[in-house]
Amino acid sequence: MRLILTFAHTRLLWVALLLLCASTYSLHAKDAAPAGIAPEKVADFVHAVLDADRTIYTNQVVNRMQAKGIVSAAEHWEHENALPLPAQFLQHSGKLVAESGRGIRYRLISLWPIYQRNAPATELERKALESFSQTPDRPFTGIVTSGRKQYFQAIYSDRATSAACVKCHNSHPLSPKRDFALNDVMGGMTITIPLD
């Protein structure tokens, strides 16, 4: 509420409502502040869903398959008869969501990315990642602009929840940091919601 009050903006509200509520209400009156969901909440929902999905994938699919020796996860899973890594699972689903044209996007970022495209793009992202060293459990949110465009961004810390994450990042030839440990904050997940 405080955020909404702080960054209260009619357009923001409009967009949020359009995107997520599939509202049954007709929003006619400009003067009366209509009921809606704050982008923080939306990002929180989305993050919760994504995190749960990825956890399920990691624990119930990848770990079990690897434990039983049926199939393992590998970076080049396409031609190694393997499963995508949990991180790739998220990145690829993010790409699919982006390609769907809904506007909402999410991706994984890190201060020590294996591929440069996954480095923080904005100052907000950088600050968020840096903040996680102190407050890893608090999401970092803010409004960012690209030219004339405005976006809401929420960055959630992302931990090395599985040994596969640590192993891959510590051994990948392009990885700039190779001393990750399990449960370390390796980076964050950025959820971007356009505001116009």
């Binding site: 080049h76 031609h79 790409k95 982006a98 044209g101 960012v144 690209s146 030219g147 392009l174 971007t192």
Partner: protein
């Protein structure tokens, strides 16, 4: 005449000896060759297989390693390029450009863009300057030249040279900034732009190899989306065209092994991107190879061609560039890049070929050695065997003089010892045998000599011939008969030697043929031959003799011979032999004639004496009674004497009648059918008149019988004689039974009396001439003899049956004459 033992000229020992030797050598060679060939083949196959596997796995490893290296090369280049794409100034300018486009600013309106495009195409300096010298272009240039980069991020010289184009487009695909004027203006429809823009989401797009018209070379391109400052959406696309050969060759070309082994980079269509041998841009020569070497997972294959124009088994390792392929044409599904590691199969299999060559050379040497050793070994084995063989041959001929001397210390020596033992035993056995043979021969010679002597001693000529009629043996009698010398008769035809006329010769041949056919020679009819074999009856006239040709008789010189053929057992294999016996019957005939003559005269003497005797008694009686009558005065007594004279006269008449009945010549010689019953009746009547038969009771039982062929007078005489005999036996008193019957064409006549009968001891003599039981002068003793002769003459039989005390029955049988049937009613009278 015998050549030495091991003479090579011997016609039979050579092939045999060589056969064994050759077999031994061939066996040894086979024993050597077969495992050698098997081993060589196995070695070659296993070697080839293992070389394939080892090489394939090595090639696969090399391909994987090369793929990783090239992948990193591309990834590094992508990373370098992406530094331009993330440059904040470029992003800012593009964001601004985007905003202008979205706000509908007239500077970037479609019309303005079209105009700018035309200017660019026309190389209008203003337009060119606007694109090649704007701030973004300057940044590009700085990046390309290295002035904008940290020292460790400088573009390597090779990469810089390989970069043929570097430009940036805006969100609409129109040229935004470029290093040179070579790029086109609008790219919104090109695949790379669409791929990299990806509906505003953006993704790395690596374009496959293609020929670039401006650069005049084969190139590939890296297209990177330039994201806005949030990395939220695409604001432009950075496109970089790179000469594939220049870019990759420093990495691929140094990887060489052997003379031909190398690494090649191909795309999924089989187009060569970089190869030390093939030029970039060509397709692999064998299209069928492409699917085999473009699998997603690294591997190796054995293919029938090498992709470099060579035919023959090739081993190819391959691997996919993992990260790069993820971006090629937007996704790995649209094509991927692969390394291809190959070495010429000639070179690859050269070691095993060398090995094979050496092994073949060694094998040939080994075979030569084997053949040589085999020859010597076979000679060592065969030589004593040949000696044994020769010895066995000599033993077979009985010519072995010395014992076999073989000292090989093995089974052959034992065999030689056995041979010697066998030889000794054989010699002993043969020695015994020859003694036996000698004895037997002597025995045979003795037997033959005895036989010859016996045969020579036989006065009967005996001749033996073979089937061709050539004489094989003649005894002395025959030689004498035929007047031949020993040398003459041997193997001469018998029929030429016999001095006989053609008729006899033919008869002789005919008989021989009968004997040859196994038919027993039937004797000539008895009546024809009887004159020779039996004494002639002096009372019976000799019938005309058979013609000499029908008899088995030959006349040689003055001698008459009866001949006889007999079959002889021939030697096995030889034909039949036959013997001819000639019996000299000259003397025999003469003797017989004499005998008959003597018999005749003897009979006459007896007859004469008998007649004289028979007639004398009544005659003396008559004389005495006559004298008594002369002196008798008493008439009655004289009448008595006269009655006695009449009795004596009757007796004499009877004797004379009997005699004439025997000796009378046949008035008729023609035999005719005669009624037996009638003749019997006449005979009875005659007998009854001449004898006192007052007490005679005649019982007759005549069954109608067929006539018999006879002379009626003689048949009647025979009956008279039998009847007289019967009546005399009964002294004219008693019962007389006369019976005729016919059965099986035989007419039987029975005359039975109930007189005293004939004692058994006399029964056999009753038909003898002059045999009589009656008193002197009572009978001539000829009656039954005559009857017998007559009945026999007519082909009948006569016999006397006299069961003791039951009288006598005379049974006569005569063959019935069926030619003229004349039936008579049976008549019975008493």
């Amino acid at each position: 005449m015998h050549t030495p033992v091991t003479s090579p000229k011997h016609p039979q020992s050579n092939p045999l000896g060589w056969g064994l030797k050759r077999k031994l050598i061939v066996s040894m060679l086979l024993v050597g060759i077969v495992p050698l060939l098997l081993g060589l083949s196995m070695a070659f196959l296993r070697g080839s297989k293992e070389i394939q596997v080892v090489s394939g796995e090595s090639f696969q490893a090399l391909a994987t390693e090369a793929a990783r290296k090239l992948d990193l090369l591309v990834a590094e280049e992508v990373a370098r390029t992406s530094r331009i794409a993330v440059h904040p100034d470029i992003i800012q300018q593009l964001e601004r450009h985007r905003d202008l486009l979205q706000s509908g600013d007239k500077r970037v309106s479609p019309a303005a863009t079209t105009q700018q495009r035309a200017h660019w195409a026309a190389r209008d300096p203003v337009a060119v300057k606007a694109i090649t010298e704007n701030s973004t272009a300057l940044l590009l240039r700085g990046f390309y030249a290295g002035s904008q980069s940290e020292s460790d991020l400088l573009l390597p010289q090779v990469v810089r040279a390989a970069t043929k184009k570097l430009f940036v487009t805006d969100v609409q695909g129109n040229l935004f900034a470029a290093l040179t004027t070579s790029p086109g203006f609008a790219h919104a429809d090109s695949p790379w732009w669409k791929g990299a823009y990806n509906r505003g989401v953006g993704q790395l797009f690596i374009e496959d190899l293609h020929f670039d018209e401006q650069a005049k070379t084969y190139v590939f391109s890296i297209s990177l989306p330039i994201m806005d400052s949030l990395r939220y959406e695409v604001v432009g696309v950075l496109h970089r065209v790179i000469d594939a050969k220049e870019f990759f060759s420093p990495s691929t070309h140094p990887i060489r092994f052997g003379k031909t082994g190398h690494v090649m980079l191909i795309d999924s269509r089989g187009t060569v991107m970089s190869c030390p041998i093939l030029p970039t841009g060509v397709r692999l020569s064998d299209p069928s190879l492409i699917p085999k070497v473009t699998g997603r997972e690294p591997g190796w294959v054995t293919a029938d061609s090498d992709g470099h124009g060579g035919q023959g088994t090739a081993i190819i390792g391959f691997a996919l560039l993992p990260e790069t392929s993820r971006a090629t044409n937007g996704s790995v599904d649209n094509g991927a890049w692969h390394t291809f590691v190959w070495q010429s199969s000639d070179e690859l299999f050269a070691p095993i070929r060398h090995l094979m060559l050496w092994m073949l050379i060694l094998a040939s040497v080994a075979l030569c050695l084997l053949a040589t050793l085999g020859y010597f070994a076979a000679s060592r084995i065969v030589t004593p065997v040949r000696r044994l063989q020769e010895a066995a041959r000599l033993i077979g001929r009985g010519e072995l003089q010395e014992p076999i001397d073989i000292h090989t210390g093995d089974e052959l020596e034992e065999l030689a010892v056995e041979f010697n033992r066998m030889h000794t035993q054989l010699e002993a056995a043969f020695a015994g045998l020859s003694t036996q043979v000698e004895e037997k021969t002597q025995e045979v010679q003795y037997l033959q000599k005895s036989t010859d002597q016996v045969l020579d001693a036989v006065p009967t000529p005996i001749i033996m011939i073979d089937q061709q009629g050539l004489i094989q043996y003649m005894n002395r009698a025959s030689r004498d008969t035929l007047h031949t010398q020993t040398e003459d008769w041997s193997s001469r035809p018998l029929f030429d030697l016999l001095p006989i006329d053609d008729e006899h010769r033919e008869a002789l041949r005919r008989d021989l043929r009968l004997v040859e056919a196994g038919t027993p020679i039937t004797s000539p009819p008895a009546d024809q031959d009887q004159s020779i074999k039996e004494a002639r009856d002096p009372l019976n006239q000799a019938l005309s003799p058979a013609p000499p040709s029908l008899r088995r008789e030959l006349r040689i010189g003055p001698h008459l011979y009866h001949y006889e053929w007999f079959p002889l057992e021939g030697r096995s294999g030889a034909g039949k032999r036959f013997g001819l016996v000639l019996r000299d019957t000259t003397d025999e005939s003469r003797l017989q004639d004499q005998l008959i003559q003597a018999e005749k005269s003897g009979s006459l003497d007896v007859l004469t004496a008998g007649i004289g005797h028979e007639l004398n008694n009544p005659l003396f009686g008559i004389l005495g009674l006559g004298e008594a009558i002369q002196e008798e005065e008493d008439l009655t007594r004289a009448k008595g004497y006269a009655q006695d004279i009449v009795g004596h006269g009757r007796k004499m008449a009877a004797i004379i009648r009997d005699f004439t009945g025997v000796a009378a010549r046949e008035s008729k010689s023609q035999r005719i059918p005669v009624d037996v019953t009638a003749q019997l009746e006449q005979a009875l009547a005659i007998v009854q008149t001449s004898h006192e038969c007052l007490g005679l009771n005649v019982q007759k039982h005549y069954v109608a019988v067929s006539p018999v062929t006879a002379l009626p007078d003689q048949l009647r005489l025979a009956f008279i004689n039998v009847l007289t005999n019967a009546i005399q036996a009964m002294n004219g008193q008693g019962d007389l039974w006369l019976t005729t019957e016919e059965q099986d064409d035989v007419v039987t006549i029975r005359i039975r009396d109930n007189g005293p009968g004939i004692p058994k001891q006399h029964l056999g003599k009753v038909f003898d001439p002059f045999y009589t039981t009656k008193g002197q002068g009572e009978g001539s003793g000829l009656g039954l003899t005559v009857a017998q002769r007559l009945i026999k003459k007519f082909g009948g039989e006569i016999r006397m049956e006299s069961p003791e005390g039951q009288g006598t029955t005379c049974v006569m049988t005569l063959p019935a004459d069926k030619s003229g049937v004349r039936k008579e009613e049976p008549c019975v009278s008493s």
